[in-house]
């Protein structure tokens, strides 16, 4: 075991020596791999933030029930207790017309318009969440509430949730597609780099084989080389994505605030970072493996 470990350490040492022997080449290779990986990694980072945003905002579909403008508070209380007792209703939140008015006045653009109006134009309203939030059930509940007296308008806002869901699914597919595409690109990059390496060290490969080296022995330092290059590229990608997240954080928060939402753009989380580095190293290894297999078969 210790002997086995010593030989692998020796192969790692050799790989590191070769990487540091041509620092400019290594740096440019790392950059190429890093940029290729940064695209899907960045997509994943944005997607993660979008998912987080969707979760914290209103991933739970809601039904908004608006009272008629001429309904008084007593009628609203009646509806509220009726909603509270209704089967399938999980939670009822009352939004008084006064609250709505105050909130709307806080928006400088709307204030002038509202103040020009004679009275409070807003009705009392309820936000209802259901125990079962499948679209069909929600649809049924909404239809029922519409029948009730002094209920002017019932709005089902599951539509936008479904749209958001579909959009996120599309985003996820796009990230996976991008990942697969650029992963294949990464294998190709490493393939070529290792091919060049194998040609550079052709004499060494030949001598090793003459001295009784197995294919495994010949491959080992090159596999570590590919693996380290992939891993290094992964680190570069991680740094790029983190820098982008940091840079975009302020302007994006500002943009999102305009939609009455809050978002602090986060870089890749621990799981995604681990996946990125693991994939990068694994693909580097794979690229080296394919390249070496071809080289040794020809040789």
């Amino acid at each position: 075991m210790r002997v086995w470990l010593a030989h692998h350490l020796e192969a790692v040492r050799l790989a590191l020596r070769r990487l540091s022997a041509a620092p400019l080449n290594t740096l440019l290779s790392l950059l190429a791999i890093g940029v290729a990986l940064a695209l899907p990694a960045g997509g994943q980072m944005l997607l993660g933030n979008a998912l987080h945003l969707a979760d914290t905002t209103s991933a739970v579909p809601q039904i908004s029930v608006f009272m008629a403008a001429n309904a008084d508070r007593r009628m609203a209380t009646e509806i509220e207790s009726r909603l509270g007792k209704y089967g399938g209703v999980k939670q009822v939140q009352f939004v008084s017309r006064e609250d709505t008015l105050t909130r709307m006045k806080a928006n400088p653009g709307l204030r002038d318009v509202i103040e020009a109006l004679p009275g409070n134009p807003f009705p009392d309203a309820f936000v209802v969440t259901a125990t079962d939030d499948r679209p069909e059930t929600m649809e049924q509940l909404a239809a029922e509430f519409r029948q009730w007296p002094k209920v002017e308008h019932v709005q089902l806002d599951s539509a936008w949730v479904r749209r958001l869901d579909a959009l996120l699914k599309l985003g996820r597919t796009a990230v996976m597609l991008l990942g697969a595409l650029l992963g294949a690109g990464l294998i190709a990059i490493i393939f070529s780099i290792i091919r060049m390496q194998a040609l550079t060290h052709r004499a060494e490969i030949e001598v090793s084989q003459l001295l009784g080296a197995t294919d495994g022995f010949v491959r080992r330092p090159f596999l570590y080389y590919g693996c380290l290059l992939g891993l290094g590229g992964g680190v570069v990608a991680w740094l790029l994505v983190s820098a982008a997240a940091l840079w975009l954080r302020a302007p994006l928060s500002e943009l999102v605030r305009l939609y009455d939402l809050t978002l602090v753009l986060e870089g890749l989380d621990a799981r995604d970072s681990g996946l990125l580095l693991g994939f990068a190293a694994g693909l580097g290894w794979l690229g080296a493996m394919i390249s070496l297999r071809q080289h040794l078969r020809q040789g």
Binding site: H7, E10, E204, V207, S208, Q209, L210, G212, T214, D215
Partner: protein, 215 residues
């Protein structure tokens, strides 16, 4: 130890390097293969180490048919043979110690024991003080001795050498020849392809002429 049975080797497009060659080398024997340049000496050695395969006939090494070996079995055959190449094939970016270490790394020796063996081999060829030197810093004779150290560090039972004294002055050549004699004396089977056969008195001679054994 080594047995050639009606062995022919033809290189494309139809050059016969060896034709219908039959001979035997016994264990612990020292044999010198002589002949003009292009007589087939190098090819003969390459067939033993399975660097080349015979077009016809069988090459047996330690009772094993070398031509029939699978690619995956070749490394284990070569580890039993120490080889000194005509062009030495030293790795120029590694120092003397690392060059000699290579066969032991390949064979999977524990590093500490391997290091001891490397120093012993370097000492044996008189390069104990040059272990940190890169091959380019060594003289022709020193490079040749380094190649020999690498060939014997694994303690093979058989030593093959292709023109080990070429390009060396007389004194250095005699020195190198003496090292081969020493290995022969401790029981190693030695096969040397050389045109300078008189450096190896006492060795059996095989003379090649245009790929054929001269009787």
């Amino acid at each position: 130890m080594i047995r050639f049975d009606r062995v022919s080797k033809r290189y494309p497009p139809g050059v016969d390097a060896l034709s219908d060659l039959s001979f035997e080398v016994a264990e612990r024997e020292m044999v010198v293969v002589g002949g003009h340049s292009g007589a087939g000496k190098s090819t003969l050695l390459k067939l033993i180490a399975a660097v080349e395969t015979a077009t016809r006939g069988t090459v047996l090494v330690g009772g094993q048919n070398v031509s029939g070996l699978a690619r995956s079995a070749l490394p284990y055959l070569r580890r039993r043979i120490g080889m000194v190449f005509q062009d030495q094939k030293l790795l120029l970016d590694r120092n003397a110690f690392e060059n000699v270490m290579l066969p032991l790394s390949i064979a999977g020796f524990p590093p500490r024991e391997a290091a001891q063996r490397v120093r012993a081999a370097l000492d044996k060829v008189g390069l104990a003080s040059r272990e940190k030197a890169l091959p380019v810093m060594l003289s022709g004779g020193e490079q040749q001795r380094l190649a020999i150290a690498r060939a014997v560090v694994n303690r093979p039972s058989m030593l093959l050498a292709d023109e080990p004294t070429a390009h060396l002055d007389n004194e250095t050549a005699a020195d190198v020849a003496r090292i081969f004699h020493e290995f022969h004396d401790v029981g190693v089977t030695v096969l040397i392809a050389t045109y300078a056969g008189d450096l190896f008195p006492g060795a059996r001679r095989l003379q090649l002429d245009h790929g054929k054994l001269v009787p």
